[in-house]
């Protein structure tokens, strides 16, 4: 049976892993390869590395660390940040990343999704969506969230963009629910359940994990394929082996 995936997310800035609360106030939490190996040993199913400064500054990810990670670990990993062209994607994929995730550049130029899917297959194209609920009750997309001073609220509705991204060739969607991110009160089940109804490719929940029960809830209620978290793993508050045993005890298929 296909397992539900647990994905630690490592925000990378200037070659180090950092973590902020609600996408702000970043603190260094460790070296990239050290953390990648630690999570691999603990049983992470996949890793995501977001170069959170890449898009706002208009620069590409530095591929040296991608190759170092690819040499060191034997689980899949995805790289996000500043991938703006097929050439950028090729560089990161050839350095050893299994998937690339595009977010702000896909909003700037939606054709990018299809171009990368055409060149390398839909299976390596992840579209990350940063979403926040507005006062009128609609979830809308945010752009350039890596830098609060440059973050933009778009008129584009999250669910419309998710459908468009799939149609254009996204092989997976990561829905970053900004309203719940960093506060450890649980995933945004309401938004994820609505997204799940419309999402035909794998869906990854992001933002809000604080306790093992939150993972149980998001797999059971929102039927997501994977759950992504950062601070609860970096701090050691949730150990992945403990989390996986808790999920299995609740009848959720995981890889032990």
């Amino acid at each position: 049976m296909l397992s539900r995936r647990i994905i630690p997310c490592l925000d990378v800035r200037d070659g180090q892993v950092v973590k902020g609360v609600r996408f702000r106030d970043h603190l260094v939490v460790g070296e990239i390869v050290d953390l990648a190996l630690r999570y691999r040993d603990e049983g992470a199913d996949e890793l995501v590395f977001y170069d959170i400064t890449a898009s706002p500054e208009g620069r590409r990810v530095d591929r040296d660390w991608v190759e170092r990670v690819a040499r060191a670990i034997d689980i899949p990993f995805c790289v996000a940040g500043g991938i703006r062209s097929v050439d950028d994607a090729r560089e990161v994929l050839h350095a050893g990343a299994d998937k690339i995730s595009i977010n702000s550049p896909a909003l700037e130029r939606p054709d990018l999704i299809g171009e990368i899917a055409e060149a390398f297959g839909v299976q390596c194209v992840v579209v990350g969506i940063d979403s926040l609920r507005d006062e009128d009750g609609q979830w809308r997309v945010r752009q350039y969230t890596g830098d609060p001073s440059r973050t933009r609220a778009l008129s584009r509705r999250t669910l419309d963009w998710m459908i468009e991204a799939q149609e254009r060739g996204a092989g997976e969607i990561v829905l970053n629910c900004m309203g719940t991110d960093g506060v450890r009160a649980g995933y945004d089940l309401e938004q994820l359940m609505v997204a799940r109804e419309l999402c035909t490719v794998p869906l990854v929940a992001s933002g809000g994990a604080g306790k093992p029960e939150h993972f149980v809830d998001v797999f059971r209620d929102a039927d997501v394929d994977a759950a992504l978290a950062a601070s609860v793993f970096h701090s050691g508050d949730i150990a992945i082996p403990v989390l996986k045993r808790a999920l299995r005890a609740e009848g959720i298929e995981v890889r032990l």
Binding site: S3, E67, R71, D74, F120, C199, T200, D225, A226
Partner: protein, 196 residues
Amino acid sequence: MTVVLVDAGGTNIGSVRYALQRLGVDAQLTSDPARIRAASHVILPGVGAAAPGMRRLDEAGLGDVLRGLTQPVLGVCLGMQLLCERSEESDTVCLGLIPATVRHFVSKPGLRVPHMGWNTLERTRGHPLTASLVDGDCAYFVHSYAVPTGDYTLVSCDYGDPFSAVVARDNFMGMQFHPERSSSVGARLLAGFLAL
């Protein structure tokens, strides 16, 4: 032992090479027919689409080179699909070494395509390649097309319906999942291939 990686333009070439390095084997990437023929083990990695993959092999004149090999040959992911007769992906004629047609997963409720993640391997037939597998072993899959099960299936996997996770016919073998990204299970399987 000389292990070569055949360049079909796949993006996982680096990952496969690093996985072999972790096993102490330095595999060289090549599209030179003489070096491919002289190797003890040949690996055809692949991530991408069937039509450009076959086009690249044909342009390098490697189709007949691969068909004529007698040493162990391993296709990984798209590389395994290219060993088959044809693929529904852009209706592509492939190498014809495994008697199967590669099919697109049919999307059903609750069955997301691509099939992405860790899934359980079920051994269906004994073979030295897969002797290391134990019950409950999982491997990492990322694909939208799959090889149906048949006489050539060594290991199956279930996603809506059973499909081939590992195939073998004579010296030609294939793994649909990514052994280079399947943790210790993948390392054991690659070691099993190198021991053939």
